[in-house]
């Protein structure tokens, strides 16, 4: 089993719904504008701005960027305390109580997917009581990142076992895939031939970000065709 994600850029409109859903699902702290300007914005699902062509034919678009959950993750190799590691199902997990906040992993990640909790997480009035109880609110001084909504996997596995059946394709979907209005984000088991992601990952349109680094991302983009 190897969990992976396919993002179809032909379908993606860059609306940012996935980023908003992710932020709410995972209790990602909201950083004040002044700190945000210092590059301390916290986003597990970021929208990358891509410039294509040159003026006057310049085209700007936004593409979603979660953690790539690399098969050869550079972040896990530098972690001195094994707070980040890849589990048997291919998810690069982040164990917050283990993290000492050295931020080596942030420096090592070529996709810059990791965020550091510079401050005690705070939420605007009203939102503080509405955090998702299925996800912990991280303390100050630890690094965090997209987990492929692993809390949903934990619950989905339990539900499947309770119903005495195997995990089905739709049982475990991260918040971004769940919320995408155009169905551009597809999630599933890359090794399972019955899963849609398995077919899409072998599409001729498939490409990975910074593929030449050899990190083997498990987030695959399907490029646009004209």
């Amino acid at each position: 089993m190897k969990w992976g994600m396919v993002i179809d850029l032909q379908k993606c409109t860059g609306c940012g719904e996935c980023a908003a859903a992710c932020k709410l699902e995972n209790n990602v702290a909201i950083v004040e504008p002044r700190e945000s300007e210092m590059g301390r914005t916290m986003l597990w699902m970021d929208m990358l701005t891509i410039y294509e062509g040159e003026y006057p034919r310049l085209r700007v678009r936004q593409i979603p960027r979660p953690c790539m959950h690399c098969d050869h993750p550079p972040c896990t190799k530098v972690c001195p305390v094994r707070a980040t590691y890849m589990n048997e199902e291919g998810i690069v997990a982040q164990i917050y109580p283990q993290c000492i906040g050295c931020r080596y992993c942030m420096a090592a990640c070529p996709y810059t997917v990791k965020s550091f909790n510079w401050y005690k997480p705070s939420f605007p009035p009203g939102m503080d009581r509405a955090t998702n109880p299925d996800v912990s609110v991280r303390p100050v001084g630890v690094v965090e990142k997209c987990t492929f909504c692993i809390h949903r996997l934990q619950m989905a596995k339990e539900q499947a076992k309770f119903e005495a059946r195997d995990l089905r394709e739709g049982d475990f979907q991260p918040a971004c895939a769940d919320s995408c209005p155009t169905g551009a984000i597809v999630f599933g088991d890359l090794e399972n031939r019955d899963h849609q992601v398995n077919h899409l990952a072998h599409s001729p349109r498939a490409e990975k970000l910074l593929e030449d680094l050899g990190t083997e991302p498990k987030v695959i983009y399907l490029k646009e065709v004209d």
Binding site: Y85, N87, E88, I91, A93, I95, Y96, P97, Q98, P133, D134, V135, S136, V137, T147, I150, H151, Q154, M155, E158, K161, F162
Partner: protein, 164 residues
Amino acid sequence: MNHWKLLTIPAFLLFFVGGCSDSGRFSQPIAYNHKKHIEEAGLGCFDCHTGAQTHQKASIPNIHFCKNCHEEAMTDSKEEEKLVGFIKKNELIPWVQVHRVPDHAYFSHRRHVSLGKIACQDCHGDVNNMTLPFTKPHVSINMEFCIRCHESKQVTTDCAACHR
């Protein structure tokens, strides 16, 4: 060198050790008697903690459940009088949750009770013979306790299976 600086180290250690131990005791609003309910009323754990087999949380019963039997006093017990008082006032009993798993760990009763076939007593102790309510946890709920059991039962010890 200032001598007072040397004192900060033992002071810090004392603070740290004190903060980490679960010597804290809780007092419950009603001196609930588990033994009596099990032996005399013939109740089982899941009759009152209804979520233990099917949900993540076992749930602690409150007036809406207790009033099935205690709408009127059944005995002369002063503790029951308190309960009837809560029911009459339609006020929730402020039970104190004693066994608490930190937010960053996923713990599900269903996973342990129904799927793992773990006895309630393994974590909560000999509740059947308790005549007074919990004032402190039976075992300190920490990762060492979890891992020891997971290893002996040969179930997953993957960090991401519980951490979230």
